[in-house]
């Protein structure tokens, strides 16, 4: 029923996400890696870049208000129901997957959101990273999810 509006809402929220990433400085792998360089704050190099903490703080605050509002509503404006994760277990796939992700994130300064958004810059390193990321996702789907 609301198919066209739902498509428009997805396009608009995706654009807002991409604009937010652009403004926040998080498309810059050196800045992201600089945040993870926490030891740089203590060893005299003065290389730690806390910007990402401000980005996460802003994002979680506004998203938290939106989610608090969502809890008071019977359903979303354009869909039948809120789709929320039901798995609450803190298990080995969660921790192992997050650890592998952190390794790749630290090596490259890229996580999925900024890397996908930056595809529009046409930069070769971005294309290489995202292509490999899609292969990694397909490998999980092929060898783990269906196993």
């Amino acid at each position: 029923m609301n198919a066209a509006l739902r498509l428009l809402a997805a396009l608009a929220t995706g654009l807002i996400f991409g604009l937010g990433l652009s403004l926040s400085g998080m498309l810059d792998p050196a800045r992201v890696q600089g945040f993870l360089d926490v030891t740089g704050a203590f060893d005299g190099r003065q290389t730690w870049d806390p910007t990402l903490a401000f980005v996460l703080g802003g994002a979680v605050s506004v998203a938290g208000l939106g989610y608090a509002l969502a809890r008071r509503l019977p359903r979303p404006a354009l869909a039948a129901a809120f789709e929320l994760p039901t798995n609450r277990r803190i298990d080995r796939p969660l921790i192992g997957g997050a650890a592998l992700f952190g390794l790749g994130w630290g090596l490259s300064g890229f996580c999925p959101g900024p890397a996908v958004a930056a595809l529009s810059t046409g930069a070769l390193p971005v294309t290489v990273f995202v292509t490999a990321m899609l292969v990694g996702m397909a490998a999980h789907q092929r060898f783990v999810a269906r196993a």
Binding site: R6, N87, T121
Partner: protein, 137 residues
């Protein structure tokens, strides 16, 4: 505008996007999950997730049109390392059910203990990785 202020405002826009996608479409704005879903889902759901990803990709050029400058990007790794890192990020985010957006923003915003565990793990792993890189350099 200072780097921290633009970081906070940019973050607030990201949070707005996450909030609106839930309030309007009832969906978690987790980028790794949405991108992976494009290869798996069929019908309207695939189009809706594709529209979100298209909007995301349009973000930097629209930002460039509005401000007169593309967002800064300084790459920190050679292509072979980016290849390995991409594989790790793709596989790891699926195995761990999320990335910086799904666990980091959406998960923390709904006070999920599972997401907090994921965030602390990938932050710890990322910090350890960069500390190792710096020690080897």
């Amino acid at each position: 505008m200072s780097t921290y202020a633009s970081g906070f405002l940019g973050g607030a826009l990201i949070g707005l996007s996450v909030a609106l996608l839930m309030l309007l479409n009832g969906r978690i704005a987790g980028i790794s999950g949405l991108v992976a879903g494009l290869g798996r889902d069929r019908g309207l759901r695939r189009w809706v997730d594709g529209a979100f990803v298209a909007g995301l990709i349009a973000g930097p050029p629209v930002f460039a049109l509005a401000t007169g400058a593309w967002p800064a990007m300084r790459f920190v790794a050679p292509l072979p390392v980016l290849l390995v890192a991409g594989l790790l990020v793709g596989f790891g985010t699926r195995l761990g059910s999320g990335c910086t957006s799904g666990h980091g923003v959406a998960g923390l915003a709904r006070l999920s203990a599972r997401s907090l565990a994921a965030v602390l793990t990938f932050l710890g792993s990322g910090i350890l990785t960069v500390a190792t890189l710096r020690a080897l350099a």
